[in-house]
C-alpha cells in the first residue's frame, strides 16, 4: 500500500535517508526497528508529507504522494492517525480538548457525540478521569497515551506510531500493545510502528524492517529477524534480550 522507492533525504546538509526502499502492505503491523538517530521518525514524516523526498518517491496505492495538494492532500492525510514521539499535545488545551480537536475541526459532529467518543477513546488507552488535566500535568507516558487517543479518535485506516511504548512502564506498554493489536484485528487497519522495544515488536509485528544509519538493512517476518546473522541485528537483539 505504501511504498518507498529509493528515497533519499538530506536535512541541514546531512544525509539522513540513503536510498531507502520499503513496501508496507495493507493490514497488519509493520514495525520499523532501529537505533536512535537512524532516521525512523524521518521515514514516518515522509509518509504524511511532513517531509518530501529529495530523490526517489513515496507512493500510496500506486499514486505518488508528492502529487497531492489542497483538498486531495487533506483527504489523503485524513486516512492516517499519527502518534508523535513527544505526544505533541497542544500545550494550552486540556486532554479532552486535545483528543476532541480532530473531530471538532474536521467533522460536523455535535458536542455530546464528541464528548462520548472522547470518553470512549480515553478509556481505551487507560486515561479515564484525566479529561480535565493539562498536558504539562501529565507524565511522559500519559502524554503519549493521550496522543494515541487523538490519533485513534478519527478511526484512521493507517496508524503511524512513533515509539508508542518508550517512556511507559512494562504493564502499560503491554496494554498499549493490546490496543494496537485489537485495532488491527477488529478494524483490519494497518499499523506502521517505529520502536526499539523488542518485546512489543516481537509480539505484534507481522513484518519487521530494520534501519541503520539511514539504510534499510533487513526486511522480513519476526522469525527470520530473530534468526538473522547480521551482526548489527544480533547486537540489537542481544542488548535487550540477554542470551539465556
Amino acid at each position: 500500500m505504501i511504498r518507498f522507492e529509493s528515497v533519499s533525504k538530506s536535512l541541514s546538509g546531512h544525509e539522513v535517508l540513503k536510498d531507502v526502499s520499503l513496501e508496507i502492505g495493507r493490514g497488519g503491523v509493520h514495525t520499523i526497528l532501529g537505533p536512535t538517530g537512524s532516521g525512523k521518525t524521518v521515514m514516518l514524516r515522509h509518509i504524511v508529507r511532513l517531509l518530501d523526498a529529495d530523490e526517489g518517491r513515496v507512493t500510496f496505492d500506486g499514486a505518488d504522494i508528492c502529487g497531492f495538494s489542497g483538498r486531495e492532500l487533506e483527504r489523503y492525510r485524513s486516512r492516517f492517525g499519527y502518534l508523535f514521539q513527544s505526544g505533541a499535545l497542544i500545550a494550552w488545551m486540556n486532554v479532552a480538548d486535545n483528543v476532541a480537536l480532530p473531530l471538532r475541526e474536521k467533522t460536523r459532529m455535535g458536542a455530546a457525540e464528541i464528548a462520548g467518543k472522547v470518553a470512549e477513546t480515553l478509556e481505551l488507552v487507560g486515561l479515564s478521569g484525566c479529561e480535565g488535566k493539562m498536558p504539562d500535568e501529565l507524565s511522559g507516558g500519559m502524554r503519549k497515551r493521550a496522543g494515541l487517543a487523538r490519533a485513534l479518535i478519527t478511526k484512521p485506516e493507517v496508524l503511524l506510531l512513533d515509539e508508542p511504548t518508550s517512556g511507559l512502564d512494562p504493564v502499560m506498554s503491554r496494554k498499549i500493545d493490546d490496543v494496537v493489536k485489537s485495532l488491527c484485528g477488529a478494524l483490519g487497519g494497518t499499523v506502521v510502528m517505529v520502536t526499539h522495544d523488542l518485546i512489543s515488536a516481537f509480539s505484534l509485528s507481522d513484518r519487521i524492517s530494520m534501519i541503520c544509519e539511514g539504510s534499510i538493512i533487513f526486511g522480513g517476518d519476526v522469525a527470520s529477524f530473530r534468526a538473522s546473522a547480521d551482526e548489527r541485528i544480533v547486537e540489537f537483539i542481544e542488548s535487550q534480550v540477554p542470551k539465556s
Binding site: A88, A91, L101, E105
Partner: protein
Amino acid sequence: MRMTIEAEYLPESDNLIAELGRFVLTNIRNSGRGLMMVFEAFCFFPLFHRRWQELVRQMFMVSIKSFGVVSLVALFTGMILSLQAGIELRDYGQEMRVGTLVSESMFREMGPFMAALILAACVGSAMAAELGTMAVSEELSALEIMSVNPVYYLVMPRILAMMIMCPALTIYTNVIGIIGGGAVAHSQLGVEWSVYYDYATMYLDMKEIMVGLLKSVVFAVIVSGVGCYQGVATKGGAVGVGIATRRAVVISFLLIISVGYFITRSFY
C-alpha cells in the same frame, strides 16, 4: 502554506562573500515567506467567528500583558515632551502653547510608536516564544497532519487581536500622555489645566488622528506578523525558541521605526 516544510538548505561557508550571499538570500526568503503567511492570515479573516474564543483570549493577552507598561511609558512620554518643550517656550512667554505640542506629537508620532514598541517587547516576543515552542515540540506538525491549518488556527486570531487592540492601546497612550504632559505643564510651568486643555485640542484635526490610527494598525500587523512568523519558523529546540524571540523583537523594532517614517512622509 506548508509551514513545516524546510526551505532549501544553504550550506555555511568560510568564504566571506558566500556567507554574505547566504545572509541576503536567507533574509529575502524569510521576508517573502513571512509576507505570504500574513497575506494568508488576512484571507482567513472572514472565518474569524469560528475562532472567536481564541480571538478573545488573544485580545485579553495583548491588553493585559502590556497595560501596565503602556500606562507608565505613556505618562512619562507626555511628561518629558511637556517639560522639554515647555522650558524652551517659556523663554518666549509662550508656555501656554505646550498643550498643542504635546498632543500633536502624541497623536502623530509618539502614541502609535510607543504603543507598538511596547507591544513588540511584551506581546510579539511572547507570540514568537509560544508558537516557537509549539513548532519544536511537533505541535504544529500535529495540526498540519490533522489538516488544521496553523495559519488559520493560530496566526489569524493573533494578528486580528493585535489589529483590534493596538489602535485601542494607542488611543489610551495618547490620552495618558496628554494627561501626563498636562500635569507637568501645571506643576512645573504654571499653565492652568483649562488653558492646557484648550491648546491641546485646538489644533488637533481628524487627519492627525486618522493617520496615527493607520500607523497603529500597520504596526499591529508588523508586530504580530513578525512574532508569529518567527514562531512558526523556529528550528532547533529550546535554543531556537530563544533565538526566535530575540529576532521577533529586533525585527519588529526596525520595521516599526522605518515604516513609521515612510507613513509620516507620505501623509505630511
